[in-house]
């Protein structure tokens, strides 16, 4: 699906209604639609109202920007609050991350506050984005998938939505400063439902993480 059909109505939540946020969303359109010819499929797997954890592979700073477009314009103007490492919360990028209510997480220590905030957002019915690899790929291949997203899913009962992103490694990999044009494709996979009955079962968290990696990898094109 690549059409520019009229945005669905809905949402009505504070962040989504802020003029600056809505303007910011539209400012990305030239990059997303014309510079990189974004295509996507399966966006209907993203719930219109309840909370869910979107779990994409990670190749570029621009991954959240590409991901927001089909969700914002085709799933009731919903926005995704991404977890972002605290070192990026400075300057213009920091302002941007705060504008979109990104969840600040420490890179160097156990950050209970970030986990509590993530769980709270999901319990409020928000969409949260977590990159299971924790950092951008270095060479196009997946980094090690971490179990954090699955642990949070088990804590909250929120479904995990695997997302395959192809092409952003060519647009802006970690060793580049400026984006170059290249086609980008996003595949939203069906949700993985999570049983929250045993919060302490780490084998279950590991199994969910394996399923995430397998599902994302099933449509991933190694650059």
């Amino acid at each position: 699906m690549t059409d520019d059909s009229p945005p669905a109505t809905g949402g009505g939540k504070a962040l989504e209604d802020r003029l600056l946020v809505r303007l910011g969303c539209r400012l990305h359109i030239p990059l997303i639609r014309w510079y990189c010819r974004l295509r996507w499929e399966g966006v209907e797997h993203v719930p219109l109202e309840r909370g869910a954890i979107l779990c994409p592979n990670h190749a570029s700073y621009l991954d959240p920007t590409f991901l927001f477009y089909p969700i914002f314009f085709h799933r009731g103007r919903r926005l995704v609050r991404f977890l972002a490492v605290d070192i990026y919360f400075k300057g213009l990028l920091g302002w941007y991350l705060r504008l979109f209510e990104s969840i600040r997480v420490s890179k160097d220590r156990i950050d209970l506050k970030a986990y509590r905030e993530t769980i709270a957002r999901l319990n409020e019915g928000k969409l949260v984005g977590i990159f299971p690899e924790g950092e951008r790929t270095r060479d196009g291949r997946f980094m090690t998938f971490q179990i954090g997203a699955a642990c949070i899913a088990i804590q909250t009962g929120a479904p995990l939505i695997p997302v395959t992103i192809n092409g952003t490694y060519h647009v802006l990999p970690r060793h580049w400063r400026f984006p170059r044009p290249a086609p980008v494709e996003i595949i939203f996979h069906p949700p993985i439902d999570v049983d929250p009955s045993d919060r302490l079962d780490m084998d279950y968290a590991a199994d969910l993480t394996r399923r995430l990696e397998e599902t994302i990898g099933s449509r991933y094109v190694v650059p």
């Binding site: 220590r109 156990i110 950050d111 209970l112 506050k113 986990y115 509590r116 971490q146 179990i147 954090g148 642990c151 804590q155 919060r199 302490l200 780490m202 084998d203 968290a205």
Partner: protein, 76 residues
């Protein structure tokens, strides 16, 4: 069940060890393979079990079985 027993049961379940194997000097990461995401689950479970909010400063110091047991026994 005492606080100590409750905390040990949580650590045992997350680390998949027998409670009788959990001695105070064992380190969460090095000995029990409780890495960062598992440690978060452990601390959140302790919070829920004992009705407290573990501060980041306290969390940083809870790196052995013994320190966790001391911590829960000091709770009001």
């Amino acid at each position: 069940m005492t606080r100590r027993e409750r905390a040990l049961a949580i650590i045992a379940e997350i680390s998949k060890r027998d409670i009788s194997d959990l001695t105070p000097e064992l380190e969460l990461v090095a000995d029990l393979q409780i890495d960062s995401p598992k440690a978060v689950v452990l601390l959140l479970e302790l919070e829920q079990a004992f009705g407290v909010e573990v501060s980041d400063a306290d969390a940083a110091g809870l790196d052995t079985v013994g320190r966790i047991l001391d911590y829960v026994e000091r709770l009001p």
